[in-house]
């Protein structure tokens, strides 16, 4: 079975046969860094064009169809336009923080890619607390938003940033609790261990109804955490014009924009890893022929297929639902999602101890 790890193995062998181990490590780190930056850019472009096509399809229109075949180069053209545009800094703004904020958003999004397993044996950093690392780093993204909102010296930005602060901090709880329920089931915080524990079936199937509840809570919470509609109160176009990035233009705006999409990709990748088995192919009990056929599909296709399915789900929300009000948003978290996910975690823990899951 072909996998992305074949490429990395060959590069590794070639580098180790040419250089000494220290230089090999340095070159490999540089390559990984370049790959992450490349992935950041490519994912941003792909997701933007995907969102525009999905929204066009839901809104009975064609969407971008002029630049390149079927308009697939539209987001590239948009990026070039944003890069040559002047990045304005308002005169009343705190210049240092204002210019720093987009980079923090970008760095957070890039850091989160480290523990993701994109395919079999294809992972930047298989650290033993991978899931904890993800939840720790993702909570940093609120800092960039608060920084941008405060430094802009604009009341709309400030309102957006404050909304976003309340929202991300609250929804992290239920996102964390639903992640924890899978950690309890798998018995490990390491991403590769969690994936390997799903070799005989994905947790969403093995974990009975509590796992499905955890999955639904997770999807709702991460939609809110990434500030996507119906929880896009930080941007809230019709209320706050553009929320925390009202004053940003050019590439600084584009960094926020790309970081949002890359964050969506990352949370969906984590959802796919925890609940849908990451790069694990779909296996059904003792259907050996079927399982064997599924094994022939490369693991990277399984991973990206599941991730993009979840991304499509989140885009579907955005183009269907109206936005919540800020008090309703916090009510939903503190009065419904948090108690549900707490009880659910207890159920799952009992299930894991009593070995009730498959």
């Amino acid at each position: 079975m072909w996998s992305l790890s074949h490429i990395t193995n060959e590069i590794h062998e070639w580098l180790s046969s040419t250089f000494n181990p220290t230089w090999t490590l340095i070159f490999e780190m540089v390559l990984a860094g370049v790959a992450v930056i490349g992935l950041f850019a490519v994912l941003g472009l792909v997701l933007v064009i995907m969102e525009r096509k999905v929204s066009a399809w839901m809104q009975i229109r064609l969407g971008p169809n002029r630049v390149g075949p079927k308009g697939i180069l539209q987001s590239t053209a948009d990026t070039i336009k944003l890069m040559v545009k002047e990045g304005m800094t308002p005169s009343g703004a705190d210049k240092f923080l204002f210019n720093l904020a987009p980079f923090i958003a970008m760095i957070v999004a890039m850091l989160l890619m480290a523990p993701l397993a994109f395919a079999k044996d294809f992972q930047l950093w298989d650290l033993n607390i991978g899931v904890l690392f993800v939840s720790a780093i993702s909570s940093l993204s609120v800092i960039s938003i608060l920084m941008a909102g405060w430094a802009s010296n604009n009341k709309y930005s400030l309102l957006g940033a404050m909304r976003s602060g309340a929202q991300i901090v609250s929804y992290e709880l239920s996102a964390g609790l639903s992640v924890l329920s899978i950690v309890v089931l798998a018995g490990s915080l390491s991403v590769s261990d969690i994936i390997n524990s799903q070799a005989d079936g994905w947790w969403i199937f093995k974990g009975h109804i509590p796992a499905i509840i955890a999955f639904i809570t997770f999807i709702i919470a991460v939609t809110a955490e990434t500030n996507r509609a119906p929880f896009d109160l930080a941007e809230a176009e019709s209320e706050l014009t553009a929320g925390f990035h009202t004053e940003y233009s050019g590439m600084k705006f584009a960094l926020f924009f790309l970081a949002e999409y890359v964050n969506v990709f990352i949370v969906c990748a984590i959802g796919a890893t925890l609940f849908l088995g990451g790069w694990m192919p779909l296996h059904i009990g003792s259907w050996d022929g079927f399982n064997h056929a599924m094994d022939y599909i490369p693991s990277s296709i399984w991973f990206f297929g599941k991730t993009f399915f979840l991304i499509f789900l989140i885009m579907w929300f955005r183009w269907t639902f109206p936005r919540l009000r800020i008090d309703q948003l916090l009510n939903l978290e503190w009065k419904y999602l948090l108690p549900i996910s707490m009880i659910n975690l207890l159920l799952i823990t009992a299930m894991a101890i009593l070995k009730w899951h498959f």
Binding site: Q59, I60, R163, A236, W319, I326, Q328
Partner: protein, 377 residues
């Protein structure tokens, strides 16, 4: 004249943690150049002051220097979403002064056009209001049906938005031969698609939570602030000019005045949704029964209204539009005054959303269905 400086200098306000924010004149939710000065405490609204005049074109003054045939075209630019009905109100007023009867064919065509305009206007309101709440897709679904109406208008009147089709004495020219067929096609399409509206917006839990119990107007307030149209009817105040002071052939038609008693944003929403169905009902009654005959009464080339005062009122998509003409017997009116529904409806905004959140303001403003050129004129 403006009180804006007073708010900023009011130290007591800012000492309590209040701050002032300008919504508009350029803002996605004001649908035009409305300027709201809002005093906020956190997210809670303390006070709203609408500032008008950004699109004031002195239409009333302009009308006074134009002849009775010409000034009607200017009024299309007041409430551009119901241009037909504005023209209709002015034509009615001039006809009242001239004391001409218009032929039955023209009357039926006028009513048909009015009701199609009302549907088109409510369609646009529905899409734009959903967009205010953060749902973008309904806008495109609404425009699918609205385009069909615009195509019908384009064929018969030659324009899609500012039609200028109604003139004193009747309508400018006869309907297009395809008119009846295309209107029937539209009604079929509309009946097929109306369920989508409920599936997409009305039944949505988030939407209902955003609308119910928000921006409540009591029946007394609706009367004392002079609200008309769907805004008043959402509070249970009967205010349909088509029923109270019937003009043209409305007294011979079967349709219900839509009344909701909730008074909140959701009631106003339901009034407009149900009103579209009533308009469809009217169109259905008339589309096969357009009488033969002239579409216009012969009038003199230069119209002169006798000395006196004339007033006519019609029900536009937004409420009561009144046209008041004072004539000195010349070829141009001495004074013209328009009573526009948007102006009165806007005045209750502060009362209805005080104490609510910013999101409530946007939702409630959406249900007022404001057209800014109609407020400023």
């Amino acid at each position: 004249m403006y009180r804006q400086t007073d708010i900023i200098e009011d130290n007591r306000d800012t000492a309590q943690g209040n701050f002032v924010i300008n919504v508009g004149p350029q803002h996605p939710a004001t649908h035009g150049v409305l300027h709201l000065v809002i005093t906020l405490n956190g997210e809670t609204i303390q006070k709203i002051e609408p500032h008008l005049g950004y699109i004031h074109r002195s239409i009333e003054k302009m009308c006074e220097s134009l002849s009775y045939r010409q000034f009607i075209y200017v009024t299309s630019r007041m409430d551009y979403l119901s241009a037909h009905i504005n023209n209709h109100a002015c034509s009615l007023c001039v006809e009242k002064g001239l004391q001409v009867e218009i032929p039955p064919r023209a009357q039926v065509i006028r009513v048909l056009m009015d009701e199609l305009t009302r549907i088109a206007s409510h369609e646009l309101w529905w899409g734009a209001m959903a967009m205010d709440l953060g749902a973008f897709t309904p806008f495109f679904h609404a425009f699918r049906e609205r385009e069909t109406i615009n195509d019908i208008m384009e064929e018969t009147c030659g324009a899609r938005l500012t039609m200028n089709y109604m003139v004193p004495g009747g309508v400018m020219h006869d309907i297009h031969p395809n008119f009846q067929k295309r209107v029937k096609d539209f009604m079929q399409l509309y009946k097929k698609k109306i369920n989508e509206y409920d599936e997409l917006v009305t039944g949505n839990v988030i939407f209902q939570n955003r609308m119910k119990g928000v921006g409540v107007i009591s029946a007394e307030d609706a009367v004392s602030y002079g609200c008309t149209g769907p805004v008043a009817r959402g509070s249970g105040v009967s205010s349909d000019i088509r029923k109270i002071y019937p003009y043209e052939i409305y007294d011979k038609l079967e349709f219900d005045e839509v009344l909701e008693t909730g008074g909140d944003s959701f009631a106003r929403y339901m009034v407009r949704i149900r009103e579209m169905q009533q308009s469809i009902r009217i169109v259905e009654q008339l589309i096969d029964n357009i009488p033969e005959g002239d579409f216009m009464t012969k009038t003199k080339a230069v119209l002169k209204l006798p000395k006196g005062e004339f007033y006519s009122r019609v029900e536009t998509a937004r409420g009561e539009l009144g046209v008041y003409i004072v004539s000195e017997g010349a070829t141009t009116p001495y004074r013209i005054k328009f009573r526009s529904p948007g102006f009165s409806n806007l005045s209750i905004l502060d009362k209805m959303v005080r104490g609510g959140k910013i999101g409530d303001l946007i939702a409630a403003m959406g249900t007022l269905d404001l057209v800014i050129p109609d407020i400023d004129r």
